[in-house]
């Protein structure tokens, strides 16, 4: 049991009883304080997770050059298993971690340098698949105000911060290793996922506006690592192409058996309120409450998570006078996952705190982070436009993450022999723009993109350069 007390600095004289001013307990935590090393460790872990995920989850430079769109077709079978049945060339891309270059070319990473900037570091670290030309920069001036309306925070200069907006961050890393065995796709797929969301209460939003004497919010985060065995197949449906105007329809299914090796989970709800007396003056006390759970699972606590997932897809390949239209819809990550978490429940308020070890708690997750995808593309083969060597790809996609999140993109690619130029735009947590070029030399291609995205926690539109090596299959 821990009592909450506001501790005065030792060098301060005893508080005068008849003082007419009753300041609030210090509501703010500075950058470097006792316990900072632990905070730094936590921040480092988060940055590493962001970095790891950003490279792995990064779209390749071809996609980024087309505004982030995923082109419907055999190269997108991970999104829609039915695409695997469509004849054509698959692609395997390796995105170069150009963001690492900033460690030697820019000084915002280095806390000892004059250019150190935590916001720039976060922006670049969460986009290591590209070299950011103008990462978000911290504000020039932060003003923290306390008045009768409560606490308020305003910013001047630098990036416009959106700290009170609901924030969701998800990265997934999948490394499928396998191939086609007859009609079956078989793969062993190590995976990691990291999902975090913060939902501020309306009073917290007012802190960054008119001010508020209270703040509340919900923080959830979980990270998982494991290995999946995927078995999938895709096949043409027995539908008469003639009856569909020459269109062919495909279906695909992919089942996955999951073994969860490690998991960390946090789920907390909190609220703080500056106490006011009957006249409305602050009394100098902060009333707060916090409740939630955190836990660990997998090998760290001697258990293994297990589960199964299914991805289902439908696709159609429709010949047209201008080329071939490919369309598909899919649902992914349908399934169940069971973990045994060593869980701790925490409850705390201004008068008491308690921490209860709940022991191993079975957590059954049904259909978490389910994705719905739709993809559409028109491919005009090279030469069909009457210009020798010229081909065009137009593509659009949409994704809904049922746990929160929506993205859509559209882009175009024009090929001239081995060369390609691209452009596109989309919405992906903010505006996404891209232009790019590509060069194909036999089975190997090089794609370069100038891309733009919304920086985390800000309205800043950052520009960066990405590059990928493309290996044709």
């Amino acid at each position: 049991m821990v009592q909450w007390r506001v501790r005065l600095p030792e060098r301060h004289p005893p508080k005068v009883q008849d003082s007419t001013v009753r300041p609030l307990p210090r509501p703010l935590t500075p950058c470097r304080r006792p316990g900072g090393s632990a905070l730094l460790t936590g921040a480092t872990i988060v940055l590493l997770l962001l970095s790891f995920g950003s490279i792995a989850a990064a779209q390749d430079a071809r996609s980024l050059g087309m505004g982030g769109v995923t082109v419907a077709g055999p190269g997108a079978a991970t999104v829609n298993p039915a695409f695997a049945a469509i004849p054509g060339r698959g692609r395997t891309s390796l995105t170069l971690p150009l963001g690492v270059l900033s460690a030697v070319t820019r000084d915002y990473w280095d806390p000892s340098s004059q250019g150190f900037d935590a916001l720039s570091t976060l922006d670049q670290a969460s986009n290591l698949g590209m070299y950011l030309l103008d990462p978000a920069v911290s504000p020039d001036h932060v003003t923290i105000g306390i008045d009768a309306r409560g606490l308020s925070v305003t910013f001047q200069g630098g990036a416009t911060l959106r700290l009170a907006a609901p924030a969701t961050f998800t990265t997934r890393l999948d490394l499928p290793i396998g191939g086609q065995i007859g009609p079956v796709n078989l793969a062993v797929r190590p995976f990691t996922t990291f999902h975090a969301s913060f939902a501020p209460g309306p009073d917290t939003k007012r802190i960054f506006g008119s001010g508020s004497p209270s703040a509340s919010g919900t923080l959830t985060a979980d990270a998982e690592a494991g290995v999946a065995v995927d078995i999938g197949t895709a096949f043409p449906l027995p539908v008469s192409a003639a009856a569909l105007g020459g269109a062919r329809v495909f279906a695909g299914i992919r089942g996955s058996a999951l073994a969860g090796l490690a998991k960390a989970s946090v789920d907390l709800q909190g609220r703080a309120q500056a106490e006011q007396d009957s006249s409305g003056a602050y009394t100098g006390k902060v009333l707060y409450s916090l409740q939630g759970t955190y836990g660990w699972g997998g090998i760290p606590v001697g258990t293994i998570g297990y589960g199964a997932q299914v991805a289902l897809g439908l696709a159609a390949s429709i010949p047209s006078g201008a080329g071939t239209v490919t369309a598909g819809v899919a649902v992914r990550h349908l399934g169940i996952m069971v973990w045994n978490l060593d869980q701790t429940q925490v409850r705390s308020d201004q008068s008491s705190s308690s921490s209860t070890d709940l022991g191993l708690v079975r957590q059954v997750e049904v259909a978490r982070h389910v994705d719905l995808d739709a993809n559409l593309a028109l491919a005009i083969p090279q030469g069909d436009l009457g210009v020798p060597g010229m081909g065009v790809v137009l593509a659009a996609d949409g994704n809904v993450d049922l746990s929160g999140g929506f993205a859509t993109h559209a882009g175009a690619e024009v090929r001239f022999g081995p060369f390609a130029v691209r452009g596109g735009a989309g919405y992906d947590g903010g505006l996404r723009l891209g232009v790019g070029v590509g060069l194909q030399a036999g089975p190997i291609g090089l794609d370069v993109a100038l891309t733009s995205h919304r920086s985390l926690f800000t309205d800043h539109q950052a520009y960066g350069i990405a590059a990928s090596l493309d290996f044709g299959l």
């Binding site: 003082s19 007419t20 911290s138 923290i144 306390i146 916090l290």
Partner: protein
């Protein structure tokens, strides 16, 4: 291991903590903490009727703040200024807004800001005076606005700056003028805004 209290406070104060993290984790971000002390005053200190004498009357703001061991105690740490930033404070600004309704006219007026140490028995001693601004005459029996902006000049008052950098100090404002007769004055303080600014890079070694 982070003490539980620290973890709890950090989670609950997420938004302002992030703001301070940003302010303290880049070398070009300056931080200003503004606190309207009116929000902390009890009603008797915000709105009061005080007695003044004829001749050269003085009226203390907030009222009664010249009493021994009283005064307007300001604890910057409790207002959100990190302890490791106190030594970086380069100055202090104070904006006053009030209305004063004296029984008899007070002319040739001025207001003076006093900054004293936290244990001062009387804030309104000349050695604590750090700034004076003129105010227009206050007519009799009519509520007149009294506004003033004070800036602590660190060059002229290094001792006062040292007090501010200590994090805990007292301040008061005294209205002075001339009046043919004494009487009572109704005071209504609407703003007592204290601002301290930290230079860019204050949170970094």
């Amino acid at each position: 291991m982070i003490p539980r209290q620290t973890r709890t406070l950090g989670l609950l104060a997420l938004a302002p903590t992030l703001a301070l993290l940003l302010a303290g984790c880049s070398r070009h971000t300056a931080l200003t903490v503004q606190a309207d002390l009116v929000a902390f005053l009890d009603p008797a200190s915000k709105q009061a009727t005080v007695t003044y004498t004829g001749g050269s009357p003085t009226i203390d703001l907030p009222p009664n703040s010249a009493e021994p061991q009283a005064g307007t105690l300001v604890d910057l740490q409790k207002l959100g200024v990190p302890s490791n930033a106190l030594q970086s404070i380069s100055g202090l600004d104070l904006d006053l807004a009030a209305t004063v309704q004296p029984d008899s006219a007070i002319s040739a007026g001025s207001t003076t800001l006093y900054v004293a140490d936290a244990t001062a028995t009387n804030v309104f001693q000349s050695r604590y005076a750090v700034g004076t601004v003129s105010i227009p005459p206050l007519p009799a029996s009519r509520a007149s606005p009294v506004v003033g902006s004070f800036q602590l000049d660190a060059q002229q008052h290094p001792a006062a700056l040292t007090l501010v950098q200590g994090g805990s100090f007292r301040l008061g404002i005294q209205l002075q003028g001339t009046s043919p007769s004494g009487g009572q004055a109704k005071i209504d303080i609407t703003k007592l805004l204290v601002s301290v600014s930290l230079p860019p890079g204050w949170g970094l070694p």
